[in-house]
């Protein structure tokens, strides 16, 4: 019953989306104003229908209705309830439905909040969104139907991949999707602007919160993914430059460039064609991220051979979305005439450099991911492009760009005077040099990389503090007055400073984790100890633990630092009988300065358990830095929330008061 209802809801959503994308264009042509109301009604209808379909699927998972194919394939009656629910998106069909839910969700929220936006622009945006929704609901219905039935039904299901039975991973895809899909809104706005042949500060202001929201979600999603890799996979790292990770990085880089150039467009009415181009690229890169890399081309050619219709469908969507948008761009981009001008030394120029480098970095990751396929296509050669390549190219490229972080925010718009700025930043430069020299002297390996990373992080942090000090006139005026200035400082500025500060912290953490890590490995029997510098790790015992749906072998460790007792921790190796898979749970004893990270392997007769111990200095700050960056994004969104586009009247009044 519920399955059939969900099926119908999904079909109806598809048809509403299809109908809307056609009717809106017709309506705009005839000029009938009813089309504006219709566009909003349709957007809300799509959201409600897909939302209800998603609720149906969730219900089916909750009650373990194995007459539904995806439930039978991906759930099990004895699985913990919470993982039954997260199992909804732990498979291809369900995750696609989640994707569609997010897509229509964004459209629905846009419909809800669209009051201040020029009607033609917003209506065109809905038309483009509906086209995307129609394409993806069609993909769902005709190639990956989540409500397909399994008849006769099996008595029990096939379980969910045990790797997905983890709270971090359960929240990782929705966050990532919220980011990916968020760029559909900016994409649709960009297409609408091109059709209108006009984009100005109004457009940028409308789009900015959406761009920031998508970017913030994507940041959090990538962060959750990295922490999942760090804590669950047990290979002792958080970023491996594998295609799946690269796929999420590409839209993030494009999105980062976009939110920066959007600022220029809003403030100065220039770089318009470029900003629109970035908006057009971020969403397709997200699509590449979810589909090409994860399921169709790179990971598994086999999968493509078994489901050619899915691959062809997705490629067709991509070709139409990107090809259509870029053709429109070629045709209309010249209508976007910039009006603002700026000199070579100005905030605009520094953001141009920012965009240039980020675009190059994005292209670098793109080609790094797809170049092997390209080489195989044109010749018989095969290549591998792995972490060492990115370390040698991406890191210096982006590292150099980050030098600009504190400078950029302090440069004046339009035309800046470099002299006073350099004098202001002198303390930061001195701090940077000092930090680099100290790091170089103290480290016992990877000295140069460590020193450069530390110097960069200190430069960013101190530079930002100087920026903040000058904005608040801290110590130049009474403290109370500075605090008042802090309150009056727009949240957008706070967001920028906070996010950039997070970047500094992240740089420091990455430096610590990659340049100064140490590791040791050894066979251990209960009672054995392992010494790493000042640390002593004792294996106290190994025990077998039977849980609901897995069996674990748990190694109990005790960590000492010199004389100090740092407490005990447990590393596990889990076996999931139903899927016949094993996974690892690393044990992490964290502190602000370093993580002690332990994994335990399969025992070897007579020699004991293989134990790997890593010491990761500053690993904790990876998550803090990432969280601060996301917080910066959230603050900037809140800026727009406070002075909503609706509140035109008070704004006008204030202007008059000022006069």
């Amino acid at each position: 019953m519920i399955a059939e209802l969900g099926q119908f809801l999904l079909i109806l959503a598809f048809l509403v989306a299809l109908l809307q994308s056609g009717l809106i264009f017709l309506g705009l042509r005839t000029g009938d104003t009813a089309v504006f109301g219709f566009a909003r009604a349709g957007a809300i209808a799509q959201f409600v229908l897909v939302g209800a379909a998603f609720a149906c699927l969730t219900w089916l998972f909750a009650v373990s209705d194995f007459s539904v194919l995806v439930v039978a394939d991906n759930s099990h009656s004895e699985k913990p309830f919470i993982y039954k629910l997260t199992g909804v998106w732990g498979n291809h069909e369900g995750s696609m439905l989640l994707w569609c839910l997010m897509l229509t969700g964004y459209t629905g929220v846009l419909a809800w909040t669209a009051n201040g936006i020029a009607p033609r622009l917003i209506t065109l945006t809905f038309a483009v969104q509906s086209m995307i929704t129609a394409a993806f609901t069609a993909f769902l219905l005709f190639t990956s139907n989540p409500f397909a039935r399994l008849w006769p039904a099996p008595a029990d299901g096939n379980d969910l991949n045990p790797l997905l039975q983890d709270p971090g991973l359960a929240s990782h895809p929705p966050m990532l999707y919220a980011g990916y899909v968020g760029f559909s809104i900016t994409f649709s706005f960009a297409v609408a602007a091109l059709i209108e042949g006009r984009a100005d500060a109004r457009w940028a202001r409308i789009v900015r919160p959406w761009a920031l929201a998508a970017w913030t979600f994507l940041t959090i999603g990538i962060l959750l993914g990295a922490s999942w890799a760090y804590f669950e996979l047990g290979w002792g790292g958080w970023w491996a430059w594998d295609p799946v990770e690269n796929a999420s990085l590409m839209p993030w880089l494009a999105g980062t460039a976009f939110i920066h150039s959007l600022r220029v467009m809003e403030k100065r009415d220039t770089l318009k064609a470029w900003t629109i181009l970035l908006a057009l690229m971020a969403f397709p890169l997200s699509l590449v991220g979810t589909f090409l890399v994860r399921s169709v081309i790179i990971t598994s050619v086999h999968a493509f051979a078994v489901y050619p219709e899915r691959g062809v469908f997705i490629l067709a969507i991509l070709a139409v979305v990107v090809g259509g948008a870029l053709a429109l761009y070629g045709w209309r981009a010249n209508c976007l005439k910039p009006t603002g001008v700026f000199s070579e030394i100005s905030r605009e120029s520094s953001l141009v450099v920012n965009n240039l480098v980020l675009a190059a970095a994005c292209a670098l990751v793109f080609f790094g991911t797809f170049y092997p396929l390209f080489v195989t296509t044109v010749s018989d050669e095969t290549l591998t492009i792995g972490a060492p390549f990115y370390n040698a190219t991406f890191n210096p490229l982006v590292g150099t760009l980050l030098i600009l972080v504190p400078i950029s925010g302090m440069l004046a718009w339009k035309r800046a005077k470099p002299g006073p700025l350099l004098r202001q930043l002198a303390p930061a430069a001195i701090a940077m040099l000092a930090a680099g020299i100290i790091a170089f002297a103290l480290a016992d390996h990877d000295r140069l990389a460590g020193a450069m990373g530390t110097a960069l992080a200190v430069w960013i942090a101190v530079g930002l503090l100087i920026d903040l000090k000058s904005r608040l006139k801290l110590f130049d005026i009474p403290l109370a007055a500075s605090l008042a200035r802090a309150r009056n400082l727009p949240l957008g500025i706070w967001g920028m400073i906070v996010a950039h500060f997070g970047v500094g912290i992240l740089v420091l953490a990455i430096t610590g984790v990659s340049a100064w890590k140490t590791e040791s490995r050894s066979f251990m029997q209960p009672g054995d100890s392992l010494t790493m510098g000042q640390y002593e790790i004792v294996l106290e015992g190994v025990s077998r633990v039977d849980r609901d749906n897995f069996i674990a072998e748990e190694g109990l460790f005790h960590v000492y630092y010199g004389e100090r007792d740092l407490g005990s921790l447990a590393a596990e190796r889990r076996f999931y009988p139903v899927r016949g898979m094993s996974t690892t749970e690393s044990a992490v004893q964290g502190s602000a300065l370093r993580d002690v990270y332990i994994t335990i392997g399969e025992p070897v007769a007579t020699r004991g358990w293989p134990v790997h111990v890593y010491i990761y200095p500053l690993a904790f700050w990876l998550w803090v830095g990432g969280a601060i960056i996301s917080l910066g994004g959230a603050l900037s969104i809140a800026d727009r929330g406070r002075r909503s586009l609706l509140s035109r009247k008070p704004a006008a009044e204030q202007v008059q008061v000022a006069e």
Partner: protein, 273 residues
Amino acid sequence: MIWILIALIASLTLVLLVAPFLRRTQEKRADGLGAFASQLEELNRDRAMEMISADEARTAEAEIKRRWLNASDQGDVENEETISRSFRTIGVTVCAAAVMAAVVIYLQIGNAHLIGAQPPQMAEVPEDVQGVLNELEALSASLIENPQNPEGWYVLGQAYMAMGRYGEAAIAFNNVIDQVEPTAGLFSSLGRAYVFMENGILGPPAREAFIRALELDPADVMARFFLAEARLQDGDEARAIQEWQALMESLPEGSEARVMVETRLEILETENR
């Protein structure tokens, strides 16, 4: 019941979509020009906080005002109320048609006839399902203790197959094969367990099992059926069809196996269409 709900959902959606076409006047619409006012406001605040010099502020103000002016020139056309009869008629008609089309598509891909039906397999399971499950658990536990029990493993394998726990079924069948002189049927069951486990993909273990089954009994239906499927997955469709047809002709009219092969060929045909 389902049809009532479908009718309800369909009509509610229709009402929501059609409502804007029936309304005569539209709500007051914005032109978004407030953005410029609020930019001026920001500018004044920056000036008040001495974030920018008076000179910069002056030129910035001039620029914002010019953009405001340009934007307001372009925006005038939009606020006029226009009504197009034909568009409204088309709109209402197309909306209604779309909702009807949803019902039609549902009839095509939905399974309304399954509502309320008992899944056939459920009926075969005795009422006390839990009891059976417990028995199986006990059986598997005792087999782990005393693995030399081919009959026990075989029963367990069959049960796991029925329950959809294919990985465990494969383990059980492997144990039987290790303990008795294997037969084609055993290998063929093992092969099916592997195929089902891989969701229909014929990996090396499944292929091996079916090949062994054929070695023992060249006429084994399941092995021949799935090895033909393997051909198809290797991309040799012509050969697969040929093998299926040969298999089909060797089977008695109307038998379950023959129907299975026929269905498979039909599916292939529809996929190719």
